[in-house]
């Protein structure tokens, strides 16, 4: 019985609730389409079942064991990311997916979580030496490898997630402020280099179109304008479930994935949007509490990384739908359609719950 108390029921319930909302939205977004997308809901439910199973598995899988296998996992994810560059498949000229027994797997999704584990492991191991700059260099390498491989796919959004996660964990691990400041400055100065070398034309176009959506009315600008119309026309109370006109008619090719928030905002209005923000707020607060309560450095850093990962996804995805941020292609946790990201998010919750369970167990 004492063990049951150790479960963070609020976090678990929030997760399940969000997943259900997501299923309803995907159903709504796909029911107007009679193409290959019509069985999205069935597929998403399959992923949810697998995901929940994994979540429960990870609650009972000690994070200490995870710490032990974090380097091998990192190496595996490195191999998969390499593999996807060579034989991967993707839409719109990208190679993000690996086909596995008929399912599409996106190694870059899992690599986020694996990176969190390895980053936490490394910093927990060096302890106080984090104050010395020379000990940070391997850490930068750990960050740069998946970051660059994913940027090369190209998948700008997912690659960017690595930066706040990496910095967040580093911050909590106790990096010196002047080191952090110089790092951020270095990043700012090197970004023009990335702009010209690594970014593909379409990524640059997306960033430019963000400034003036009408410049490219057929391509990237279209998504931004349509998603704003969908959200704005929802008004205070929305058009009602399954009654969205914009999202139903499939204006946006990515309604069920990256623009799922538009479906919610259009059909459930401002109230729906605020409720969702509130649910996410509670969800993140629970994660932060777990980080604060964690008894060991590895656990604390992992929980921090997970919290930052979720926060960044939520912020960027909704910001993008509102037209406040460039179209980056990041899924909204638990709501967006997509097996790999859903599994990653659910496993992340499982790991957080395990950290919570092991609180104060010296």
């Amino acid at each position: 019985m004492t063990k049951m108390k150790k479960i963070d029921w609020l976090l678990l319930l929030l997760t399940i609730f969000l997943v259900l909302i997501g299923t309803a939205l995907i159903y709504s977004a796909s029911c107007g389409i009679k193409t290959e997308l019509s069985n999205l809901v069935t597929r998403q439910i399959t992923w949810i079942i697998i995901g929940i199973f994994l979540l429960l598995l990870f609650i009972n899988f000690s994070y200490r064991n995870l710490a032990k296998i974090s380097y091998p996992l990192y190496f595996l994810s490195f191999l998969l990311l390499l593999l996807v560059l060579f034989i991967g498949k993707g839409r719109a000229g990208t190679s993000r997916w690996l086909t596995f027994a008929g399912f599409y797997l996106q190694p870059s999704e899992f690599s986020k979580l694996i990176f969190i584990l390895v980053a936490a492991k490394y910093l927990a191991d060096i302890g106080k030496k984090v104050k010395r700059f020379s000990f940070l260099i391997p850490y930068f390498l750990l960050t740069a490898i998946p970051f660059l491989l994913i940027l090369k796919q190209p998948n700008l959004g997912t690659a960017l997630v690595f930066l706040p996660i990496s910095l967040g964990i580093l911050w909590v691990a106790g990096i010196r402020k002047k080191h952090l400041t110089s790092l951020i400055l270095l990043g700012l100065f090197s970004s023009p280099v990335l702009w010209f070398t690594v970014l593909k034309d379409y990524q640059r176009a997306r960033l430019l179109v963000f400034i003036n959506p009408n410049a490219d009315p057929l391509g990237s600008g279209y998504n931004i304008i349509q998603s704003r119309i969908a959200i704005g026309s929802g008004g205070l109370i929305g058009k009602g479930f399954l009654h969205g006109t914009q999202s139903h008619l499939a204006f946006l090719p990515e309604y069920h994935t990256d623009f799922i928030f538009c479906v919610l905002a259009e059909e459930w209005g401002f109230i729906g949007g605020i409720v969702l923000l509130f649910l996410y707020f509670l969800f993140l607060r629970e994660l932060i509490k777990i980080a604060v309560g964690a008894s060991e450095p590895f656990a604390r850093l992992t929980a921090t990384g997970i919290a930052v990962m979720f926060a960044f996804h939520i912020f960027v995805n909704i910001g993008m739908a509102l037209g406040m941020l460039p179209v980056a292609g990041l899924p909204l946790p638990f709501l967006s359609y997509g097996g790999s990201s859903l599994l990653t998010f659910l496993i992340a919750v499982g790991i957080a719950l395990n950290i919570k369970k092991n609180e104060m167990m010296f």
Binding site: I33, G93, Y222, R228, S233, Q246, L277, F281
Partner: protein, 580 residues
């Protein structure tokens, strides 16, 4: 712990802009977005993707874009597709069911213009404009179409455009190409192979419309950009001459420059009209098959060239050695005795008996008995190996889609040296390989990569790709053997089986080939082929004529006419084409 607090503050704070954004978009801008959403008032008009121009080697335009009128519709604006299809069916010449099917199909974006019929004629445009009131959601839009100046004469070579299929859509997207349903795509020939390079950038406008679907305001415009132009090695004059001279025959002709491998003309018949492929889809004779590169045939007596070279080089025979032809040869094959015949002389209706002849008579007379005996001495293994040396049995690598490799069997499965020596048996070649073979004889042993494209030029005039002659390989042919062979080939035309190809004032070297079609075809059981080059000294033209169900004499006649057109062009008429 304090540091986690810092992060948590940052995270909590990040909700503030989202919250404000929601208030702004959903509460402050509600009316504006609601209006846009209610009328669903944004339409996208596709102005098409321009494609580059394709030129012949002499600068003549072979294909270019020209404006046309398309009948378009926006699925969302259709009020009554039943009525619309009733009105349109008779004029458009499309069945009412078909129109209804197109209109009522589910489209990914119902606010995006779709095509009902491309390239309307004047009558149709006038009709739609007149009935405009009753045809809500349907309108005429200016677009682009391809203008194939050579029409059927270069169907296989240049190709045609068609709407992208779902499979192609998937495949093209993987290759980073910007493409959507309804886009036109090169489906054959140059248009297909160089599709990505020919394609320019799509133009389009985004308009706001009122409740009746009328344009109120243009929200944004994207100018289209032209694609790259391609300059071919094809000589439009020769291409037209070949198409004309091939006439109603079924078969193909390849003309190339033996000095560098440039293809001057490539024709396959029956052909199709690239401007309107519809009627040809159901025609017999497989009009979409490019026989020049996809047709696999036994080479017949043309293979005697290989047999002769192999025999001379192995020292099995010298130019002065004689062998007897009595019209039939008895060959022991294990237990059985096989009767191997020379060809049937149609005039007397019997097997030809050439008597005691040397190789200089045997080749022009295409004597099967002579070459059969020689071939037995060379052996199947070497006969095949020599063919392979000349590039037979593997694709020549021409930049046209779907080239076949032909087939060089293993010696054991080849049907034996006897059959191989006269180009029968399990051996298969394509007409372009035969053209290349004769070109290699013409230039003394160089196997050039056949090229159809000379260069690719950006709209600004910059050359982006230039195809210089590329040597695939070479065969060493001793001088005296080459001399013997060439004399023989010359005599084929002067007094042998290829007499029909003689051109007054031009020394032509050639070889006929007659190959049996497998079984069943009892009436005309042969393919007729003729390969040749000219002039005899310093040749500039090599060609192969391959006819389905015709004699090699007919093939030689066609080759002669083509050579005459090339070397002695008629003064008037077609000459004008070269100038523009």
């Amino acid at each position: 712990m304090g540091r986690i607090k810092g992060i948590s503050r940052l995270i909590y704070f990040s909700f503030l802009p989202l919250f404000c954004g929601l208030i702004y978009t959903q509460l402050f801008c509600y009316h504006r977005y609601q209006r846009l959403s209610n009328f669903n008032s944004i339409r996208i008009i596709d102005l098409g993707i321009p494609r580059g121009t394709i030129f012949g080697r002499n600068g003549r335009v072979l294909v270019k874009d020209k404006p046309c009128f398309n009948l378009c519709f926006v699925p969302f604006d259709l009020k009554n597709s039943e009525k619309v299809s009733n009105i349109l069916a008779p004029t458009l010449n499309i069945s009412q069911e078909k129109i209804k099917f197109i209109l009522e199909k589910k489209y990914f974006n119902p606010f995006e213009q779709q095509f009902l019929k491309r390239d309307l004629n004047k009558k149709e445009v006038a009709f739609v404009e007149e009935k405009g009131e009753q045809l809500s959601g349907i309108f005429v839009q200016v677009g682009l179409k391809r203008d194939y100046k050579l029409g059927k004469k270069a169907g296989h070579l240049l190709g045609y455009l068609g709407e992208v299929s779902p499979g192609e859509l998937q495949e093209k997207r993987l290759k980073e190409e910007v493409i959507k349903g309804g886009d036109l795509l090169g489906k054959e020939g140059i248009e297909k192979v160089f599709d990505a390079l020919l394609k320019g950038k799509r133009g389009g406008i985004r308009v706001e419309v009122d409740a009746h679907g009328h344009k109120v305001k243009i929200l944004g415009k994207k100018e289209s950009a032209p694609g790259n132009s391609i300059i071919l090695t094809i000589d439009s004059y020769i291409q037209e001459s070949v198409a004309k001279n091939l006439g109603r025959y079924q078969g193909s002709v390849v003309v190339m420059d033996p000095r560098n491998g440039e293809i001057l003309a490539l024709v396959s018949k029956p052909s199709f009209d690239p401007d309107d492929i519809g009627p040809y889809l159901s025609r017999p004779g497989n009009p979409f098959l490019n026989r020049a590169i996809k047709g696999c045939y036994p080479p017949g007596s043309i293979y005697k060239i290989i047999t002769e070279l192999a025999a001379l080089e192995k020292g099995i025979i010298t130019p002065s050695d004689k062998l007897e032809c009595r019209g039939v040869l008895e060959v022991k094959e294990g237990e059985m005795t096989r009767l191997f015949h020379c060809w049937v002389d149609k005039e007397i209706g019997e097997y030809k008996q050439h008597g005691w002849i040397d190789i200089n008579t045997a080749l022009p007379q295409s004597c099967n008995i002579f070459f059969g005996q020689v071939g037995l001495m060379v052996g199947a293994k070497d006969l095949l190996a020599y063919g392979k040396k000349f590039g037979l049995g593997s694709p020549m690598g021409i930049d046209l889609p779907g080239e076949k490799s032909g087939y060089i069997p293993r010696p054991r499965l080849s049907g034996g040296a006897l059959n191989l020596s006269i180009g029968q048996g399990a051996l298969l070649v394509t007409p372009i390989q035969l053209a290349n073979l004769i070109a290699t004889i013409a230039n003394g042993g160089n196997i050039w990569q056949p090229e159809v494209v000379k260069e690719i030029v950006e709209p600004s005039g910059n050359e982006i790709l230039s195809f210089s002659p590329h040597l695939r390989g070479s065969v060493f042919i001793p001088k005296e053997n080459l001399f013997t062979l060439r004399e023989g080939l010359y005599n084929v035309v002067e007094r042998g089986t290829g007499r029909n190809s003689r051109v007054e004032g031009l020394a032509v070297c050639g070889k006929t080939g007659t190959a049996q079609i497998a079984k069943a075809e009892l009436e005309l059981p042969t393919h007729g082929a003729f390969v040749c080059y000219a002039p005899k000294e310093n040749p500039t033209i090599a060609l192969c004529v391959f006819l389905d169900r015709a004699s090699s004499a007919e093939a030689a006649t066609i080759a002669g006419r083509i050579l005459k057109d090339i070397f002695f062009p008629p003064a008037e008429g077609d000459d004008e084409n070269e100038k523009d």
